[in-house]
């Protein structure tokens, strides 16, 4: 159990009014709000020790470097990585995935090789692989689904082969909330010597994630979806693979020696962090990890599963609404997408906004998946540790009013 009333006090924005109503924020899969601890850490850095890292010997630079590296260790602990060398700071998960495609992909994908992704992916885990495959004449394949729309592992086990060089999958769908059978998929990939990538944007913020247990080669996530600031993301990679890879971006900080003719690369993780990093936001991400750990990821996950189940039940009671994806609580986190028989999601979203209720409407950056349901858009409510059941009641009340309005 978590104390949402106490938690809500840490989030200044939750006291805001939207169109004259209390904000009901149900768009957490898009981005989360930030507790004052995270906001204060940004102000602290800029007001008290703003300085560049890994350079000067002066006091502020030493302090900035310390806090920056401390944050890396907070992230390492948060996902139980073996070493802080495995934590690369990026701008966001999209950049992390692009880093893999450009660096690892460029050197390891050849003509005729296969890359497997699922039909549930966010555009950021589709487009980099599409481009890589086009460039290399490689083949992009999609996981087969069963008649319920879930991953068909048996069929996949027959389709994956020695030609498969990479398997990149989301841990949890940002549209359906479905949690994928990661262990089984990664086992199958390993048996075929394929490298594995996990898009953990929707899992790391919401459930306990242990990269050593998952045993993926790469895992990516964004800071802003887990109480951290925008503009900071993480690439986790196994040290031996990262060491073998070429740098992604070249410049300052990522070198150990530069002559007029040639350069040598710095050690991990700096080899992949060219230029002055996003110091303030990296530090704030560490604070976000500490905040989440203090509440407890197991607690947060249970809270969200409960909200997800309640939302599915309540929306299912409405006559003309339909839930997308699997309804079972165990396979779904706090993400619920739904459709109305006749009213378009955009119109639903506009009217709900009038009541201060924020949901996402549209294709959720997963156009192929949403289209596979025969529609161009869906409405989505997504929850986090600060959401309460009575906010779902307000959503239901709002949906009834929307239906009335368009009658």
């Amino acid at each position: 159990m978590i104390n949402t009333d106490k938690i809500r006090k840490d989030f200044p924005i939750l006291g805001e009014k939207v169109n004259g109503n209390d904000l009901v924020y149900l768009d957490n899969a898009a981005t989360s709000h930030k507790p004052k601890q995270v906001i204060n850490s940004l102000v602290d850095y800029y007001e008290k020790y703003n300085s560049n890292v890994h350079r000067g010997v002066h006091t502020l630079s030493v302090k900035a470097t310390d806090e920056f590296e401390k944050s890396r260790i907070s992230v390492q602990n948060f996902i139980n990585a073996k070493s802080s060398n495995e934590i690369i700071f990026t701008r966001n998960a999209s950049e992390s995935l692009n880093l893999i495609a450009y660096s690892w992909g460029k050197d390891n994908i050849n003509e005729g090789d296969e890359i497997f992704i699922t039909p549930f992916e966010h555009h950021s885990n589709i487009v980099p692989w599409q481009m890589l495959c086009k460039e290399k004449n490689a083949i992009l394949k999609y996981f087969p689904l069963d008649k319920n729309g879930d991953i068909n592992l048996e069929k996949f086990s027959k389709e994956i082969s020695k030609k498969t060089k990479l398997v990149s999958i989301t841990h949890m769908s940002n549209v359906l909330g479905t949690v994928l059978p990661l262990n089984e998929i990664i086992d199958l990939a390993k048996k075929n010597n394929a490298v594995t990538v996990v898009d953990a944007c929707q899992s790391v913020p919401h459930m306990p994630v242990d990269v050593q247990k998952i045993d993926s080669d790469f895992l990516c996530f964004s800071g802003h979806k887990m109480l951290g600031p925008t503009g900071i993301g993480v690439l986790h990679g196994k040290e031996e693979i990262l060491n073998d890879m070429s740098p992604f971006l070249y410049g300052g900080d990522m070198i150990s020696e530069v002559t007029y003719e040639d350069s040598k690369w710095n050690d991990l993780p700096y080899k992949f962090e060219a230029g002055t990093p996003n110091i303030a936001d990296s530090i704030a991400l560490g604070v976000a990890c500490e905040y989440l750990s203090n509440v407890g990821m197991e607690n947060i996950w249970n809270h969200e599963m409960e909200l997800g189940e309640y939302a599915v039940d309540e929306i299912s009671k409405l006559k003309n609404f339909k839930i997308l994806g699997n309804k079972s609580k165990e396979l779904r986190g706090g993400v619920v997408s739904f459709l109305h028989d006749t009213i378009h999601p955009h119109d639903i979203g506009s009217l709900l906004d009038g009541y201060g209720i924020a949901i996402r409407t549209g294709h959720h950056c997963a156009m192929p998946l949403v289209r596979s349901y025969g529609v161009v858009a869906a409405s989505r409510a997504s929850f986090y540790l600060y959401n309460k059941k009575d906010e779902i009641d307000k959503l239901i009340e709002g949906l009834k009013l929307v239906e009335d309005y368009f009658k």
Partner: protein
């Protein structure tokens, strides 16, 4: 506080009527131009077919999938431009954009847009202006060739 009635300006009766009963929806057996317009922000689609002879739009078909605003605006567009010359339709396109930017239109411009002016209520909801202009952007793509 925003009341439901605030939305009446955006969702006027004419708009809801065109959304529920879109005009000129059937595909044309003969057409000179065809374009599919997407709103990458929400996934809405509009497919516009025109049959243009001697610089006159003699036939229009508008179809698609999307919200009440994008679809009714498309249906209204069809009625506004049917039978007009390319030049007149281009002028309407400019007037429509001006209208949604809250610029003043001459009486002539306003009359020429006909029922399409009901879309004006969207102005209060800037995030929906793109929905209203989806079909007009499709029209723009075609008329630019003339």
């Amino acid at each position: 506080m925003r009341e439901l009635s605030d939305f009446d300006e955006m969702y006027q009766e004419v708009i809801i009527d065109h959304y529920k009963n879109p005009r000129n929806k059937s595909k044309l057996p003969n057409f000179t131009d065809e374009v599919m317009s997407h709103n990458p922000f929400c996934g809405d689609e509009i497919e516009l077919q025109l049959n243009i002879k001697d610089n006159v739009i003699i036939d229009v078909s508008v179809s698609g999938r999307g919200c009440a605003i994008s679809q009714s605006s498309g249906s209204l567009l069809g009625e506004t431009i049917a039978g007009k010359t390319v030049i007149e339709a281009k002028n309407d396109n400019n007037s429509m954009r001006a209208l949604l930017k809250d610029e003043n239109l001459s009486e002539e411009q306003f009359d020429s847009l006909d029922d399409s002016t009901v879309i004006e209520g969207v102005k209060k909801f800037p995030v929906r202006i793109k929905c209203a202009l989806l079909s007009w952007s499709a029209l723009n793509d075609i008329l630019n060739k003339y």
